[in-house]
């Protein structure tokens, strides 16, 4: 790759470009932002031969999904549900593993120009510790989408806007999983990322049994597939693909997509419910 001393970076408004932490940069030419190839709404039919979004990117892309079932348990129920999709080099299929999506479910999908099966390591210039939320909104720059006003207050009208943080790629670890253990949060399985930032970043984990068709693993779901990532020791402790550990396959391929963006903050909000 190129010379890491050559490039361009822009810090968030109010942060000195000479000392700004990586996550205080709006962008750096050393690492990519997440570029959206395709996004939209899919009204699920319940038929997996129809509930398909074709992308033809030639690689399995980073993909998000959020679903809504209107009137579900008395209210519209929306959840970020990555586990409802599988993806390969041509398409994203909704509802084929491990669930079917009931007809009438609405799915928001976001497909990125980012292959999850190609390892990537960003050049780190200044690893910071304290996530920033405070910026000077009187400074900055923005690029409006075609036909949208640069004076708009709606962030969706911009491709670039320094009043926001646009997540930036830190690392993609793509590896064969030698063995998926059934133990509880105690042992690694061959898919490793040694945490090299002093904060909890946004991350996503994908699994494939054949290296071709991937499922995104939930980090919070009761329902599988899901992943437990040990942020203290820096490895995945457990991947559950089906009903329980006993049904885990012996091997496969995994991808950990880590962004530079912190989501953890020193102050904790406490609630009692």
């Amino acid at each position: 790759m190129g010379d890491s001393n050559f490039g361009m970076k822009i810090s968030q408004p109010g942060y000195d470009i000479g000392s700004a932490a990586d996550f205080d940069l709006y962008f750096s030419s050393s690492w990519p932002q997440l570029k959206i190839e395709k996004t939209g709404l899919l009204n699920a039919t319940g038929d997996t031969s129809k509930d398909i979004i074709t992308h033809n990117l030639g690689y399995p892309p980073l993909t998000f999904a959020m679903i809504n079932q209107a009137g579900f348990y008395g209210a519209d129920t929306r959840g970020f549900s990555p586990e409802v999709a599988t993806l390969d080099s041509k398409k994203v299929v909704f509802g084929n593993y491990p669930f079917t999506l009931p007809a009438g479910t609405t799915v928001r999908y976001v497909i990125f120009r980012l292959p999850i099966n190609q390892p990537f390591t960003a050049v780190s210039t200044n690893i910071g510790t304290a996530p920033q939320t405070v910026i000077n909104h009187d400074l900055g720059f923005k690029v409006a989408k075609s036909g949208k006003s640069a004076d708009s207050k709606d962030y969706r009208d911009f491709t670039l806007h320094t009043g926001t943080r646009s997540p930036m790629l830190h690392t993609i670890v793509y590896d064969k999983i030698a063995k998926i253990t059934s133990g509880e949060y105690t042992s690694s399985n061959g898919l490793e990322w040694t945490i090299d930032v002093p904060y909890l970043p946004i991350f996503f984990v994908y699994y494939s049994s054949d290296g071709e068709t991937f499922s995104m693993l939930s980090t919070i779901a009761q329902t599988t597939p899901k992943v437990n990532f040990n942020t203290t020791e820096g490895h995945i402790d457990r991947i559950v693909l089906n009903a329980g550990p006993s049904s885990n396959p012996p091997s496969g391929y995994g991808s950990i997509v880590v962004l530079k963006d912190p989501i953890d903050v020193p102050n904790v909000t406490e609630v009692t419910i």
């Binding site: 962008f27 030419s29 709404l41 976001v110 953890d264 419910i273």
Partner: protein
């Protein structure tokens, strides 16, 4: 169509010919965006304590409320923090928590006017776990991008 925008290639690539995957920035493509607002933080950590056992169907409790000035529901993501939750809860994690609508207990988001609420919801009670006094922690990020 005119070609106006900003394109910055990754090191080693020519911006004139680089594919989007080979660019750090390409304003032809939209990006995910996390609003930066110190008064209304769009990412953070929340510790939740159960005052009573959430084991009744229809149990709905608010976890987070945001002032949301737009007329759409945004994309969001939660991470359950097993290491900073009660061990008993960690043991039950597989059974007790979900952000998925097919689960027994779940997180969900709803927008009512300018209020964006994240709730903990019990779909069907049962399971035999008494979570009274138990705590769990999660971290969240809310994007400016359209959800559903």
């Amino acid at each position: 169509m005119s070609r106006i925008g900003l394109k910055i290639a990754l090191p080693g690539y020519d911006a004139r010919t680089a594919a989007p995957e080979e660019c750090a920035v390409d304003s032809d493509y939209d990006t995910m965006k996390v609003p930066l607002d110190e008064k209304n933080p769009y990412f953070g950590r929340v510790k939740v304590t159960f005052a009573t056992n959430p084991d009744t169907t229809g149990y709905v409790k608010n976890l987070l409320t945001f002032t949301w000035k737009f007329n759409y529901t945004p994309m969001y993501y939660f991470y359950f923090d097993i290491l900073n939750s009660d061990k008993a809860l960690s043991d039950m994690f597989g059974n007790e928590f979900s952000n998925d609508v097919f689960g027994e207990k779940m997180f969900r988001v709803n927008r009512n006017g300018n209020t964006l609420s994240f709730d903990f919801v019990v779909n069907t009670g049962g399971g035999g776990f008494d979570l009274t006094g138990k705590t769990f922690t999660f971290v969240y990020v809310i994007f400016a991008n359209d959800g559903v």
